[in-house]
């Protein structure tokens, strides 16, 4: 199994090389954006205000971690369902977001917007939040402290294990994977 090492901020050149199904070890800063933070960010944009975090060429992570226990820098932090953020995603892509880490399906128009903005949909495995948190080496509160656990946190990741769900060329691991393993009647 080939693992592509990818660093953030993400450039168009790197995005170009990623294909659906690729295993990726992602390093660098990523930003957690929860449901509540999405709503706030998009509201800010609606008011014509500058975002509290510069998302240009950045990768965002749909995650709300568990509280940090003593002696650790982070609780368990796995991905949440992408679909809930679909309505907000095009606005954030307009701010230069180059990658999203989440799980599950996305609306077709959001996938199209991601291709248009040359942004990648990275899949993280859900149900392995403790394991994933071990790849986060530093945590900093980046914006919206009033949202508590749902605030925007800047994680410094080292080799975070991901899979490319959707690339900018139209590749779709979840669709292709399903077709490859489905057993239709008669088979």
């Amino acid at each position: 199994m080939v693992i592509k090492r990818v660093n953030t901020p993400l450039t168009d050149e790197v995005v170009q090389t990623l294909a659906a199904g690729d295993h990726v070890a992602l390093s660098g800063k990523i930003y957690t954006v929860s449901d509540a933070a999405h709503k706030k960010l998009v509201q800010y944009l609606g008011y014509g205000r500058k975002l509290p975090v510069d998302l240009s060429n950045q990768v965002i992570y749909y995650a709300v971690a568990t509280p940090t226990p003593p002696g650790r820098i982070l609780g368990s932090a796995g991905p949440t369902t992408a679909e809930r953020m679909d309505d907000y995603t095009p606005a954030l892509l307009g701010q230069g977001v180059k990658g999203v880490i989440a799980k599950g399906y996305r609306k077709a128009e959001v996938l199209q917007a991601m291709r248009h903005h040359r942004a990648v949909y990275f899949g993280a495995t859900c149900g392995i939040a403790t394991l994933l948190s071990m790849y986060i080496k530093k945590v900093r509160l980046a914006a919206y402290p009033q949202l508590g656990a749902e605030a925007i946190y800047e994680y410094t990741a080292v080799d975070l294990p991901l899979v490319v769900n959707n690339d900018i060329h139209g590749g779709d691991l979840q669709r292709e994977g399903r077709i490859a393993y489905a057993i239709t009647q008669g088979n």
Partner: protein
């Protein structure tokens, strides 16, 4: 009459909440191991390996298996010959949840009102289902239920004259539409009969049955096999990346119903399948 201190109930509930969130049930662990051996998709196999590795780290360090530590669903079988003293039963269960989620550093995901949506900050209230049964024991079965899989669960009133085929179609359709969203590999609980709410309730109770255990009635056991086979033909696979193990098991529970009615509820349980049971 036998008496049980409310404080003891609170302690047991707190312990079950923590154990459920930190330690995977043995039967789920075995199902993951079997999945790792049997899944033919390399992506799927990798997911099973990750799930096993995560479970080991979580148990060893007493950290939550998943960041969605759920809303706590509690089933109580209350013996009619036991009395809870020194406080109310529901108060004690709520206190136990509150304690566990604070001391265990578990995420507080519950909001006070479905419309207003302000976080209660202690993960209460739990959802409590209590039934009076024979005996003098209190059985507590508890499940921290994640939103991802609950959100893709379904219920429907179907035409009873269409029978088994329409049930099968509804179950397969639920798993198919859900795709990767409920975090497969799943356990699927199917509640059939009763009324709308009874079907939903037994579909959740069905999730507590260990993977590999069949319904005691042969015909229903056979239906479970048939459903398991049908949903695993969909090809969704672990985490929706393609594979032959989308569902670890399907459990059916039924209840007598009205001659003109047939309710079907399908409750999905994600791969962070967490539940614990104790008896006082």
């Amino acid at each position: 009459m036998r008496t049980v201190e409310a404080m003891l109930v609170a302690e047991v509930v707190a312990r079950l909440c923590e154990e459920a969130n930190f330690v995977l049930e043995e039967n789920i662990h075995s199902a993951f191991q079997r999945g790792f051996e049997e899944e033919i998709s390399p992506y799927g196999k990798e997911v099973f390996a990750q799930l096993l590795s995560n479970a080991a780290i979580a148990a060893k360090n007493r950290l939550p298996i998943c960041q969605d530590t759920g809303i706590v669903v509690v089933f109580i079988d209350l013996g009619q010959d036991v009395q809870v003293t020194g406080g109310s039963l529901y108060g004690a269960i709520t206190e136990g949840v509150r304690d566990a989620y604070q001391r265990g550093y578990l995420r507080k995901s519950v909001v006070n009102d479905p419309i207003e949506r302000t976080n209660t900050k202690d993960n209460t209230p739990p959802v409590i289902h209590c039934r009076i049964v024979d005996g003098d024991r209190i059985k507590i079965s508890l499940m921290p239920k994640s939103a991802g899989s609950e959100n893709m669960s379904t219920a429907k009133m179907v035409n009873p004259s269409k029978g088994w085929e329409v049930i099968k179609e509804f179950v397969v359709d639920t798993v198919e539409r859900a795709g990767p969203n409920p975090c497969p590999p799943l356990v699927v609980g199917v509640g059939i009969g009763g009324t709308l709410e009874k079907a939903a309730l037994i579909s959740k109770e069905a999730l507590f049955r260990p993977v590999g255990h069949r319904h005691p009635e042969e015909i229903k056991a056979h239906m479970e096999d048939e459903l398991l086979d049908a949903v695993n033909k969909l090809g969704i696979g672990p985490m929706g990346r393609g594979g032959r193990i989308t569902v670890l098991d399907v459990h059916i529970e039924t209840y007598p119903t009205h001659m003109a009615s047939m309710a079907v509820a399908v409750n999905l349980l994600c791969c962070a399948a967490r539940y614990k049971t104790a008896e006082i």
